[in-house]
């Protein structure tokens, strides 16, 4: 017990079996909801992707036009799949690292249900044409406020866990998660204020929110998972705890200025954008710190990566974080931005962040957490491996051609001798490659959803002892 407050938890009730039992329903509800939105969002993504090179595809139905399908894909993935699953993973990690049961469980289940309803209402609103028209914020404000409020309630539960924790020292994952739950409601609240009414300021607010939602909500949860699962799976402490803390405060100090580099060349004051470019470059410090720490922890234990489904996804995600962050710092420079701005390169970059890093991290986390919550085994090792390779190959096939095509597109757009239609035609092969990659990713999602349904519903033969547990726990 910390802070002189009463706690119902004593050492008997700090066992991981007890903590997982208490975490079961709220975390499973968040994860299963997230998986539903992952499938829905994938379907929308495929439609939007095909429309980029075959515009007549489903073009007769107004509610399935590109301007509605694409924003809905984005919003369901961000606020449905990634946020819901991320919140579930964050709560489970807090329970484990703070040695305290998740509190407010009925409230968390209630707000998760409300969150799903808000997403459903928001989806109908966007398909019907009611949208704010601001990227990452297409849901109408009323819907967005409900979603932010749901995250806020879950954040309050996280604060209670911090307050009633049974350990004195906080692990680095806790710093990241607590900060994420502080920052996201702030971002959501500010972006919903009716004061950003001129186009220029609205664009500024747009990128302030969107970039920070990735960097101050999804990134902290993703890094918290990496800092927990990498040492946990290989059975060795993190290489340098001091470096891990330096990485956290580096993110807290430098990240939130980054978004305005998307507005180079806009009517925003030059000094304003320049601060953003400087901050983007300074992000190299915490990113390299995290990369060195993760790499040095894994060195010598690569067989553990091969044998663990969790670590396969987590290590892929951690490497992608380093890559996408360093790429982001380079993209923020004016000379680079001159070429890639308004091209498919940026779309691919966003997918390295949200998929190769965040989504792969969440997949890996689920493969570790769900057997412990359900006391059940994953149905098929082969299907897990198939999911990994479909996701890994799919996202590489998505991003590499699209970034190559994006650079060519940018060079062509900067050349006044090349007609605009020629530039558009130039991108078509790369857009087709993206659709093929989208099919691979969606098949992977279907496999993952099948595995999640099987383990949550406990279909099949009950395993004597789940193989994911360590030897010591099996004996207990």
């Amino acid at each position: 017990m910390i802070g002189g407050h009463q706690s119902e938890i004593d050492s008997t009730f700090q066992s991981i079996r007890f903590l997982d039992e208490k975490a079961r329903y709220p975390v499973l509800f968040l994860v299963v909801s997230g998986v539903f939105w992952l499938l829905f969002g994938s379907l929308l993504a495929l439609m939007a992707s095909v429309k980029m090179h075959a515009p007549e595809f489903l073009g007769q139905l107004s509610f399935l036009t590109f301007g509605r399908v694409r924003p809905l894909h984005l919003n369901t993935m961000v606020y449905g799949w990634a946020s819901m699953t991320g919140a579930g993973v964050a709560l489970w990690l807090l329970s484990r690292t703070l040695r305290v049961a998740i509190p407010m469980r009925p409230y968390i289940i209630g707000v998760t249900a409300l969150w799903n309803i808000a997403l459903l209402v928001g989806s109908v609103q966007i398909l019907a044409g009611f949208t704010r028209g601001i990227e990452w914020l297409e849901f109408p404000v009323s819907t967005m406020i409900v979603i932010v409020w749901c995250i806020l309630v879950i954040g309050i539960a996280a604060m209670f866990m911090l307050f009633y924790r049974n350990v004195k020292t906080l692990y680095v994952s806790v710093w990241y998660i607590i900060a994420a739950f502080l920052w996201l409601p702030l971002l959501g609240g500010v972006s919903s204020m009716p004061i950003f009414d001129t186009p220029t300021v609205q664009a500024g607010m747009n990128w302030w929110f969107a970039h920070n939602a990735l960097g101050l909500w999804f990134t902290p949860i993703g890094l918290a998972a990496a800092y927990y699962f990498i040492p946990k799976v290989i059975g060795r402490p993190i290489y340098s705890y001091g470096l891990s803390l330096l990485g956290f405060w580096g993110l807290a100090l430098f990240y939130n200025w980054n978004g305005f580099h998307h507005l180079i060349g806009s009517p925003l004051p030059t000094w304003f954008v320049t601060i953003s470019i400087a901050a983007s470059v300074m992000m190299i410090i915490p990113v390299v710190v995290v990369a060195v720490n993760h790499h040095m922890t894994v060195v010598g234990s690569f067989s553990a990566v091969k044998h663990s489904p969790t670590l396969r996804f987590v290590v892929f995600a951690a490497m992608s974080y380093t890559f996408v962050s360093l790429q982001g710092s380079i993209q923020a420079l004016r000379t680079t931005n001159e070429i890639i701005h308004f091209t498919h390169f940026v779309v691919a970059h966003a997918h390295i962040g949200m998929y190769a890093f965040v989504t792969m991290m969440l997949f890996g986390s689920c493969y570790y957490i769900l057997p412990r919550l359900t006391n059940w085994e994953w149905q098929s090792h082969k299907l897990i491996k198939a999911h990994f390779w479909l996701s890994a190959i799919g996202i590489i096939l998505y991003t590499v051609p699209l970034q190559v095509g994006g650079v060519l597109q940018g060079l062509a757009m900067n050349n006044p001798d090349i007609p605009f239609m020629d530039t558009m035609n130039l991108t078509i092969p790369y857009l087709i490659a993206r659709s093929v990659a989208g099919v691979l990713l969606t098949v992977g999602h279907l496999i993952f959803a099948y595995l999640v349904i099987r383990i949550v519903a406990k279909v099949g033969l009950k395993p004597e002892i789940p193989g994911v547990w360590s030897k010591k726990i099996k004996e207990a």
């Binding site: 991981i16 900060a179 927990y228 100090l253 044998h307 663990s308 670590l311 090792h381």
Partner: protein, 74 residues
């Protein structure tokens, strides 16, 4: 009209700057709290926190592909 827009741009930018500073201040606030609550007193201890008597360091977990891979080799 142009003047009015210019004022709005400045106003909106200062609002964003204010909240950006608030985020940084929250990070600094967490740091100060961490320092004074003794979080940095024994920095090496932090690395051991994911492990406990039930799942101690030195024992890999989640190695569910190991049995399959061993069988395939044999």
């Amino acid at each position: 009209m142009l003047l009015e827009t210019s004022i709005n741009v400045s106003y909106g930018i200062w609002i964003l700057l204010l909240f950006s500073l608030l985020i940084i201040l929250s990070g600094i606030g967490l740091f100060i709290w961490a320092y004074f609550s003794g979080q940095f007193d024994d920095i090496n201890k932090g690395a051991q926190l994911p492990f406990n008597e039930e799942e101690p360091a030195g024992e890999p977990t989640d190695q569910i592909f190991k049995d399959n891979d061993s069988k395939q080799k044999n």
